[in-house]
């Protein structure tokens, strides 16, 4: 229910020309858009006259906003040790009443594994009045695998707001930039008197520049 149904009687005494009908508006935390209802009556009885406007359309301006990720996908590079992820409480209209809101977050394994590629993270972020963006940190672990890995980020249990269903989850991609340099074999042999030759080789990413001392 968005407002309290109101019925009553107004009496204008001699000399009175203005009265006020008070309709209680009920606050909720649903993101429901603006709503309208009617007030007062066009019906008249007796010899008096009701003149226009005899109805008022009241629009209740919704002040609830959804919490959501500000991007559906995230990509970060290892070996950066951590990354702040950001969730967003969309801007509220300036006329809005200041309020606080919170939302819980957690990480879930995708192709990336907690304890191997990242540190499992969970907690609650709180939005103070006027804040539209908060961050939390997901530590990233170095690893020797030369593949990217993904982590699912989830929002849940909104307090003082509503969770946007379209962006309650996001995917974090850890771009692995690790490169290993090694000899191609444990032992080499060469025939005495032949020209110099290189037997070392490099394995790893071809798109990363690297150097090694020998």
């Amino acid at each position: 229910m968005d407002y309290e149904p109101t019925t009553g009687t107004l009496t204008f005494a001699t000399g009175e020309t203005l009265k006020t009908i008070l309709v209680p508006i009920l606050e909720d935390t649903l993101v429901e858009g603006n709503e309208t209802f009617w007030s007062s009556s066009p019906i008249q009885r007796g010899g008096g006259v009701l003149v226009s406007p005899s109805q008022t359309v009241i629009t209740i301006v919704d002040n609830d906003q959804a919490a959501s990720w500000n991007s559906k996908r995230r990509a970060i590079s290892s070996p950066s040790r951590s990354r702040q992820q950001q969730c967003r409480d969309p801007s509220r209209p300036a006329r809005d009443q200041p309020r606080t809101a919170s939302v819980q977050f957690e990480t879930r394994d995708g192709s990336g594994l907690a304890g191997v590629h990242y540190v499992a993270s969970a907690g609650t972020v709180a939005f103070n009045a006027g804040e539209t963006s908060r961050t939390f940190t997901v530590p990233v672990l170095p690893n020797a695998l030369d593949i990217n890995s993904t982590v699912t980020l989830l929002l849940s249990n909104p307090g003082g707001g509503h969770l946007g269903s379209s962006r309650a989850t996001a995917e974090l991609t850890i771009l692995n930039r690790a490169m290993s340099l090694q000899f191609s074999a444990a032992t080499y042999s060469v025939v005495e008197g032949l020209p110099p030759r290189s037997w070392s080789s490099v394995s790893g990413r071809a798109d990363v520049e690297a150097a090694v001392r020998y």
């Binding site: 204008f12 009908i21 009617w38 008096g48």
Partner: protein, 62 residues
């Protein structure tokens, strides 16, 4: 004559109350009583589907 102060108004959901003005015009001699009520409305203004179900509305003049 009795009328409402405005045909439409907006109120923030967090405002707690909507104040609707009722105006007496054409003189102020004697006592005038008017009943009022609120009703849900299907669709927005101009949607062609208003449903103002007035139940006890009436106007009396003395």
């Amino acid at each position: 004559m009795i009328k409402l102060a405005a045909a439409a108004l907006s109120v923030n959901e967090g405002a707690g109350v909507a104040a609707v003005g009722v105006v007496r015009t054409g003189g102020s001699a004697g006592e005038v009583t008017v009943d009022y009520t609120t009703s849900d409305m299907l669709g927005g203004p101009g949607s062609g589907r208003p449903r103002p179900v007035w139940t006890t509305s009436r106007r009396r003049e003395r």
